[in-house]
Amino acid sequence: MSGTEARLERRAAYRLLAHLLASAEICAVEPGYYGTFRLLDAASRLAGTLLEAGLDDPWLGRLREEIDEKKELLMSDREAYFAFLPEIARRMAERLREDAEGRG
């Protein structure tokens, strides 16, 4: 297994699945915009799980740290929080393209 791969153990995968399914359940009763927070948090947890599983990707580590820092803007600065959503999605897309082009 190289640094560009990670072997996900069943327990870690189950934990992520439990989080996603519980999020789906509570999204039915929480304010609609909270769904964005749940997805951001899930993205952070997925990144964390992959890094813990051995993925050697400092970029992903930084992305996760930034998500963890900025997701809490929902509670203190909603304008900044909602500005962060398209910004982080765009940067992930750029990273995806670079990776597809072999520049990752």
């Binding site: 189950y14 934990r15 439990a18 989080h19 399914l21 519980a22 999020s23 359940e25 509570i26 929480e30 909270y34 749940r38 948090d41 899930a42 809490e72 509670m75 203190s76 600065d77 909603r78």
Partner: protein
């Protein structure tokens, strides 16, 4: 400040100061919380007001890291990893004995809140951090904690030593005390701000 001899006054200003400084804590240190502190927090919860003194709620203390991990997996509202959890449960047997209709009686929710707030205030006084959690899968928490059928999880209080200072929440009505009173309090007629 005067008080009757049977109920000597406490330092009300200090209590208000405590309430002003309390914030939700989302990052906890790994340091365990002592038995004494936890018992004080739990006792504060047990002294909470209760509609008609029905006392249909029970507290479950969880300190086992494996069980906390499992609860966190089904509780998206748990962002950190606290040293302990206090799960406030409605005891349906106790509710039935008190003839409380939990499907209709909204005071049961209020009672969950008073128990939680008492614990949060006591924890704050001890220097502990707390985070109230309602965003969790009810069925999920019941399953991972193997709760008996009459115990319905309503609220999870995360308790631990804060890892760092939390920024004050600015949403809603922030800041100075006077502004807060004006934002939330009416005098005599609803919508007439307190002078």
């Amino acid at each position: 400040m005067s008080g009757s001899p049977a109920r000597p006054p406490v330092e009300a200003g200090a209590l208000l100061q405590l309430l002003r400084r309390r914030r939700v804590c989302r990052r906890f240190s790994d340091h365990p919380v002592g038995e004494r502190e936890l018992r004080m927090v739990l006792e504060a919860g047990c002294w909470a007001s209760s509609a008609s003194n029905n006392r249909i709620h029970r507290l479950l203390l969880v300190r086992d890291r494996r069980r906390i991990d499992l609860v966190r997996a089904v509780s998206p509202g748990m962002l950190g990893l606290p040293a302990a959890l206090v799960v406030i449960c409605t005891d349906l047997d106790a509710a039935a004995r008190a003839q409380v209709r939990v499907d209709r009686d909204t005071t049961t929710w209020i009672d969950v809140g008073t128990v939680a707030m008492n614990m949060m205030v006591e924890a704050e006084a001890l220097g502990l951090g707390t985070c109230p959690t309602t965003s969790f899968s009810r069925g999920g928490v019941r399953a991972v904690l193997e709760l008996p059928p009459p115990a319905v999880p309503e609220f999870i209080l995360q308790v631990g030593w804060p890892a760092g200072s939390e920024p004050p929440a600015e949403a809603g009505a922030p800041g100075p005390v006077g502004r807060r009173l004006r934002a939330f309090v009416s005098a005599e007629r609803y919508g007439t701000p307190l002078a």
